[in-house]
């Protein structure tokens, strides 16, 4: 129950990385990893990722393809898709691929990400708690 929330960020833009990281990096409840290459990011998935933050523009694989891969390999991971584009098509592609939310990286983007990370954290903690309760129920019956 007291384990940290594992967050993986995939973004090859260093400035954007810093913007995303700033509000969460010093929070001890998060264990954060940052990746620039999609392959490294995907290889790390299996070690356990609670929240994945994925930019639309990466390398040979685009953000949408990466979200599909995440959902294939680690279904329970909550995915937040990012892009600088204010385009509904990108948002729809992300959601259809299995992302939970889509954020437009404008001047308020970092605030939105922080809010979503907090929301997702509550969801993850609530699920963990419920799982524990059910385990207890199995023990009792």
């Amino acid at each position: 129950m007291d384990s940290k929330i594992r967050i993986s960020i995939l973004d090859d833009n260093e400035i954007q990385q810093k913007i995303i990281l700033r509000p969460i990096i010093n929070d001890p409840s998060y264990d954060i990893k940052v990746f620039k290459r999609s392959l490294d990011f995907l290889n790390n998935l299996e070690s356990g990722t609670d929240i994945a933050i994925v930019d639309y523009y990466i390398d040979e694989l685009d953000g949408i393809e990466i979200v599909k891969q995440i959902k294939k390999r680690s279904k329970q991971t909550i995915v937040i898709g990012l892009s600088v584009q204010e385009k509904i098509e990108v948002a729809i592609d992300f959601i259809e691929a299995g992302a939970w939310r889509y954020v437009v990286m404008n001047e308020n983007g970092h605030k939105k990400i922080l809010k979503l990370v907090k929301e997702a954290t509550l969801l993850i903690e609530s699920n963990k708690k419920f799982l524990e309760e059910m385990k207890q129920l199995i023990k009792n019956s």
Partner: protein, 144 residues
């Protein structure tokens, strides 16, 4: 954006839920309607209902039957199943049929219900906010 959470309760003895509703009042703006018959509930049920709380023993239909029906017809509504039994099979059935959570009815259940409604309300309001943002994106597209 609408911030009120709409809750339907089906329970022939909704005392725990009334206690929960009272303590919930201070935390989350909500509207709780309770039913003692499954027929009346199904007649009133619609997609604007955010949360449905179902007891196990109702009438000819039990909480599991209603969970199945609601989950199929209104997949966006969150279902919380109640039962007085400490039975993992009932819990597992509720979850399998589409309930989000299962609560055992006892003296701590009002508190439990308040906690769960608080938790899911954050998610519901988050989804509403997200839908609003997506609608804004569509509108943005139509302008340019």
């Amino acid at each position: 954006m609408e911030t009120k959470i709409k809750i339907f309760v089906v329970d022939d003895d909704p005392i725990y839920l009334l206690i929960a509703s009272k303590s919930l009042q201070a935390i989350q703006e909500h509207e709780m309607t309770s039913f003692t018959s499954s027929e009346k509930f199904l007649k009133e049920m619609n997609e604007s209902v955010d949360i449905v709380i179902l007891d196990y023993n109702i009438d000819q239909l039990n909480g599991l039957d209603l969970t199945k029906i609601i989950h199929e017809k209104f997949p966006r509504t969150t279902i919380i199943g109640l039962s007085s039994q400490e039975d993992i099979n009932v819990a597992a059935d509720y979850i399998e049929y589409g309930a989000w959570r299962y609560i055992i009815k006892n003296k701590s259940s009002p508190r439990k219900i308040v906690d769960l409604v608080k938790e899911i309300s954050i998610q519901i309001l988050g989804s509403r906010q997200f839908s609003k943002e997506m609608n804004d994106l569509i509108r943005f597209k139509n302008i340019f």
